[in-house]
């Protein structure tokens, strides 16, 4: 549950910095004990557990929608993609491998791929996704990786992220994942505009170094 942990660390930082505290008011609402999302997904795969689906839906669908609204989707598109993300989660539940990506990151990739699909095929077209998924897969030449290799790889990535300073993962998130303009980031963090660019650069280089070190 690295992402949960990371979230806590970032949130803690947010509370200290005043302007950011407002952005994470719901941290308190979150259950103190992390929900085992992977376990719920496994229940769907094993026995079509509707209750598990409902719990996942209640937590993630509004967040997918909120995330998409935040990053420029219209209300209608965000609503549609949020629902389709959950439908895809049900269908793909048996292919989810908790050893290679966290449940939250996996759900993120489904929503991301659906949004790419919407850009390519138009919002009204039938979602297909196979083609987009193929574009995020290793080329067979190198895919001799075993399940063991894949989970080891995932552990490396996780370890690198744990070592990335909170300030740096935060600026990456604000800039690339929440897609906020540099001027907004400057205001949020209370730093000069010019500093934002160099901090983004530094954070990316640091992440690369950490990932390279762990080979």
């Amino acid at each position: 549950m690295m992402t949960v942990l990371l979230q806590r660390r970032i949130s803690g930082h947010g509370r200290r910095s005043g302007s950011l505290a407002k952005r994470w008011p719901r941290v308190k609402e979150r259950p103190e004990i992390a929900v085992d999302w992977s376990g719920l997904i496994a229940q769907i795969a094993l026995r079509g557990d509707r209750e598990a689906f409902r719990r996942l839906f209640e937590f993630f669908a509004p967040r997918v929608k909120g995330y998409l609204l935040r990053t420029g989707s219209s209300e209608a598109e965000a609503e549609e993609i949020a629902q389709e993300t959950m439908i895809a989660l049900w269908r793909k539940a048996d292919r989810f491998d908790p050893a290679t990506s966290g449940a939250v990151a996996w759900i993120y990739t489904i929503a991301r791929n659906l949004r790419i699909d919407a850009v390519r095929r138009g919002r009204r077209a039938k979602r297909m996704l196979q083609d987009i998924e193929a574009e995020y897969r290793p080329e067979p030449v190198e895919s001799t990786e075993t399940t063991h290799g894949r989970s080891q790889e995932a552990a490396h990535v996780e370890a690198a992220l744990q070592r990335l300073p909170v300030q740096q993962s935060e600026i990456i998130r604000l800039s690339f994942l929440e897609e906020r303009p540099h001027s907004e980031i400057a205001a949020l963090l209370g730093i000069p505009l010019g500093t934002v660019k160099s901090r983004v650069r530094l954070a990316m280089n640091r992440l690369r170094e950490l990932l390279d070190d762990l080979k």
């Binding site: 689906f53 965000a78 439908i87 990151a105 095929r121």
Partner: protein, 213 residues
């Protein structure tokens, strides 16, 4: 196969976030598929994406959205299979291109041909395969905007180094280069280009109108 030249982190980040122009997307996808190092970077980004999702301000869905989703699941609202494009199986193209329609071979210049790739939703750049005969010396040129290249087969060299299979090269208006294709085999590259090529020198200006890229 050792990959030595990687895309700038910013491009990989935007690829991981699904926010690249579709033509540029397929060039980065081809590199990432072949490059374990950049795949790790994408995986890290996807985890940060998950954290961003978890922290997102929830926006309520329409009343009954969950039941509606379940009804759609029950109705067996199946997903149609995406038809694979008709590209030649033996062509050795990366699997990331499996679903793209690839146009006919067109001659660009002596020793140089290209095949356009049909990229739905592309607005900024166009994508194509560029095939060069062994030993072809390209004219010195610059780009008015950017050019993303991923080598699929063979190699080329310019002052930035030697580029073999999997290597990524970025050209922009500041780079003046004159790539030379390796002499041992033809070179095939996947390219996304925005703006125009500008061939330098008098000869360049004379033949520029005839270069069809």
């Amino acid at each position: 196969m050792t990959i030595e030249h990687h895309p700038p982190e910013e491009l990989i980040a935007r690829f991981a976030a699904g926010r690249l122009d579709p033509a540029e997307h397929i060039v980065i996808a081809a590199h990432v598929a072949m490059c374990a190092r950049c795949r790790r970077f994408v995986a890290a980004f996807e985890r940060l994406g998950g954290a961003a999702l978890e922290a997102a301000e929830p926006a309520a869905l329409a009343a009954g959205a969950c039941d509606a989703a379940m009804a759609r699941i029950d109705a067996g609202d199946t997903v149609p299979a995406v038809p694979r494009s008709r590209r030649a199986e033996a062509s050795g193209l990366p699997r990331t291109l499996d679903y793209y329609e690839i146009g006919r071979v067109r001659r660009v210049a002596p020793g140089l041909t290209m095949r356009p790739i049909v990229v739905p939703g592309a607005t900024k750049s166009r994508a194509f395969l560029l095939m060069a005969d062994p030993g072809t010396r390209m004219l010195e040129h610059t780009h008015t905007e950017t050019e993303l290249t991923c080598v699929l087969q063979g190699s080329f060299s310019h002052e930035g180094g030697r580029f073999g299979p999997g290597d990524f090269d970025l050209g922009d208006e500041t780079i003046d280069h004159r790539p030379a294709v390796g002499s041992d085999m033809p070179c095939v590259c996947l390219v996304a280009m925005s703006g125009k090529l500008r061939i330098n020198g008098l000869l360049g200006r004379l033949i520029e109108p005839f270069i069809r890229l």
